[in-house]
Symmetry: D2
Subunit: 334 residues, 4 copies
């Protein structure tokens, strides 16, 4: 019995079925060979660590503790970013999110501060020790974003942007892969497989709500996708309760539900003043709301036998802004 991965075209050219000793050639049921749990120990979860290359305080996703990533939808200024980074760290978050390049439905909407935002993220990391997670939308920007980010976020609209998946697969930077609005769990795993097949095994899956007929919420959080994914794949699974519900008052209950269902972490939108945020304000928490969420999360995590990463402990050090170049080490393509 032999499993093969790779381009099926080549396989089609080889008369495997005609070889002596071959009874039949069977396409595997789970075409996501690398993402599949098969071959892994049933309870294994691959851990993905953010911050190893940048000297940030490492944030482990997929381990015993729940990893919370928090920060603004988009980076609006250095000051608001650092203020937010300090606040979320104090509340227990262990990584910082912030959009530099924003996918927006309208060409006339705010598209993010771009490269300037990347510098602000690096500065906030240096200040707080939090690894940074930021989205990349364009394969041409993967190299520059990967030069700063501790984790490359692939947004829901990019889940099947195959050239982009191939490009982030060519780095060794962790990838946070969000489920597409109408993607099945199977398609999410196939998208992860694109990254894995290029040699980058540091993939975190993220359920962020799917599009359904229901209009009371922005999307419908598919909470069952968490245990389904956990049984199908060894990759860690986190949840974005901010985009799923689309409303600040839903973030905490959805976050608790996600942890209770087995999620390995959360990514949450936090802003000093959600009412004035340039994007996603209605679903963004302010600092007291985020603090309350973190307080409420700990007992739920404990109820399922887990802790919340670093909740209550202190950052070990301050970093300087000048991070060493990490590109040469990172971009080892096959």
């Amino acid at each position: 019995m032999i499993g093969c991965i790779g381009d099926e075209q080549r396989l089609a050219e080889v008369p495997l079925g005609a070889l002596a000793g071959v009874e039949s050639v069977i396409p595997v049921l789970r075409p996501y060979t690398l993402a599949s749990r098969e071959g892994h120990h049933p309870v294994d979860t691959t851990t993905v660590t953010l911050g190893t290359a940048s000297g940030a305080r490492p944030c482990v996703v997929g381990g015993a503790g729940i990893a919370v990533i928090a920060g603004p939808c988009s980076v609006e200024s250095a000051e608001m970013l650092t203020t937010t980074a300090r606040a979320v760290r104090a509340a227990g978050a262990r990584a910082l999110r912030g959009g530099a390049f924003k996918p927006r439905t309208s060409p006339y909407a705010f598209q993010g501060l771009g490269d300037a935002a990347l510098e602000m993220l690096a500065a906030a990391r240096a200040e707080t020790g939090l690894p940074v997670v930021t989205e990349v939308m364009d394969p041409r920007q993967v190299e520059s974003v990967a030069g700063v980010a501790d984790c490359l976020q692939i947004g829901a609209r990019s889940m099947q942007n195959f050239p982009l998946l191939a490009e982030v697969g060519g780095t060794r930077v962790p990838v946070l892969l969000k489920r597409g609005l109408s993607a099945t769990v199977h398609e999410l795993l196939m998208a992860a497989e694109y990254v894995l097949a290029r040699g980058n095994g540091r993939v975190i899956l993220c359920e962020r709500g799917i599009r359904t007929f229901e209009t009371a919420t922005r999307n419908t959080l598919d909470v069952a996708a968490i245990p389904v994914l956990k049984s199908e794949t060894h990759l860690p699974v986190i949840v974005d309760p901010s985009h799923a519900g689309g409303a600040a008052n839903l973030v905490a209950p959805l976050a608790r539900a996600a942890i209770a269902a087995g999620a390995d972490g959360l990514i949450i939108e936090v802003h000093p003043s959600p009412a004035t945020a340039r994007s996603d304000g209605e679903q963004t928490l302010d600092f007291p709301q985020f603090g309350a969420l973190m307080q409420g999360l700990a007992p739920v995590a404990a109820a399922v036998g887990r802790g919340v990463n670093g909740h209550g402990d202190q950052p070990r050090l301050r970093l300087t802004t000048a991070a060493p170049s990490r590109n040469s080490a990172r971009r080892q393509r096959r």
Copy 2:
């Protein structure tokens, strides 16, 4: 400022706008006047108690404790029912579910044992003290089912069966109203309003998954509907993780997620031998699985400041089969 309920036709005939002192006539934004939380204290939940008329041990839904209703999809025999009732009570369930009349997609599938099953439910109640919950599909059967059941279940396919809603609204028996497969939260509340408008205020809402494009699960549990409903209505909200996920291994994580998100209870399918169940076997728990689920539920309930109803305590008494007739008191229509 005056709120009016009732047939809008009559209102159309009254020239309210022309009366002195009337500035404008405004249709209310939430047409579910009776179900709406408006006018209720923000944290109020109406409690609905099962078992008050039958002499069963009362099961409170919507109080401080989580209420768990469990039992087989359909009643298959007196023996299996009583065996299951004893097992689920021992594990902490406080009401017994069991279908007498089953809605089935195919006219050739098992449709339930009918009246015989109602007798078996009464006997199991007498034996265990558990109030019984069973589905009614036909307005002509409401009277006879209400003569036995402690709670009338309206199935997902009947959520907008308006003659049926009116009929159960005419009883004073608690109603467990399941969300339709493609019903919005708003439509669920309007369906509840049909029951409430007939004078029966004992309505429990039940999220049981909606139909989406995803095929990895039978339905998609809309876990966000729980906090949305809790903010919109004072009625208690429970969840059916069995139908939502459609697979036994998903029941426990979905049950935990539901409680973490604020649900007041659960309704779960349990059978002595799921592999031989006449319906829904693949999503049904056996006794050890149900016991494990209940064990895991208690800490999650505690994490959100609640207990699990009667978990660990003992039934107070054994009842005899001969329950007093309750019809005369119950069927007080307006």
Copy 3:
């Protein structure tokens, strides 16, 4: 090779597999044995004729011609109904629709004129010769509605109201079965099977749009369901472009699309003054709009090798109001 229909429970009790000469017992892939095209000639469509018992001018659905059913959403008065009936007949419609009992999402919305509306429908039929189609929602009303109607409409929300399906299956009155909002084509056929299994073979299927994420239209017309149904079943298939699109300006293009895709007929909402209609005004055509639609339909029907039933021809006679009682003949249950 033997096909069996009926309660699978009985089959389970018969050891068919153990009989001599039986190799295996195989559940058929298409459980809608009676609705299935298998066994019918590939191009066969069962024709269902409306009006045979009432003395109305017969309207054939499923024959060479396209059958158009038109009229108001709900019967509002005798005068508006007759006016509408005359207008739609003049434009080429061959049956009259009109709701007497209306399923409404809100208990406070107009629910229809009930029995009075049935009398108005009979009078309009007597005046114009058009067979009447009207909805029945409650199994207790099937007998009285069947005493007047030439066709019993089962609304989308009732598609899986199994007691109701059984009840109309017990009559010999044609049934117009609308697809549920979230019903698959397979489930629609299973619902038809409920009626057929009771002995009433006069079933017309109706695609009326399904519920999706798209909000630009009320529902999403699943135009592909027409050829899928035509290949699966011998029953005639019509389309309701009024409910599918939910907007008057979409009715004509959707009607043309339906005919081009192979539909056997249409059911369309028409009102003398849509702006003042008591329900569905925004999707209702006025007389000139309906006339224009019918003009535009004829060449599309011709393009797919069909005509429009009776378009341009004259009604053969006027009927008196006093129709003979038809109940005794009709209600021959098995």
Copy 4:
């Protein structure tokens, strides 16, 4: 009254509301300013002509005639492509489709022949005079694909790939923009706006089915989107019945429905031997099937007052392979 387009950020910095003579600043309801029909004559459709730069026989989309684009899902060899091009031209197609770069759910599936396929497309155009339509997925490939293609197809998965939209917006090559699997009509128009806002007004919209709960078809053709789009935008609208239905026997009825509903054209998968096609075989027509479809289309087009482009007429000339370089003229970015 002044309409403004562009980055809303700048607008926010200008105190327009404070200027003399300004009563209020109102965000327009339709944020797709350039795609919107507002300002255009109600019956206007912008025509987009394929083939003007390459010397191919021009194919007009959005004019009086229906434009049919046909060809294989993916280019598999020069011979099969030219054979197919000749066959579809003979049957009345006026442009050739063929994938060089294929988006595939699995990283192990056939991804297209790439640049070699572009050369085969140019050769087939030279041989038959048919303009070529091919997909571009990667912003880095826009320049090279635009150097060959007469029309750049943006696939459903790329509809909200904003860097890609910006890049094709920077060319002057016609763009065929497919609706995303779960994109609303509004989002499709906003995606078109990205291209238009960069200065490329040659956008053709394509409805190709949306993702719903129904599994009898690959997607659900949203035929109502055609008249909705035609009333919202001046851009031409075509339909892809091959991907919508996902089955060869559904292509012809869906094509007829699309034309009857007002579509300006069709894009259809045709292959010499669908059973051996490397992708999408089950939904691909062979030559006789495509010929029959075209025969059946003409009367439907006539029924809605249109013809089928060039149906029955002859190509005017043969082209040589050596097309002049068109890049310099095309890539005029703003």
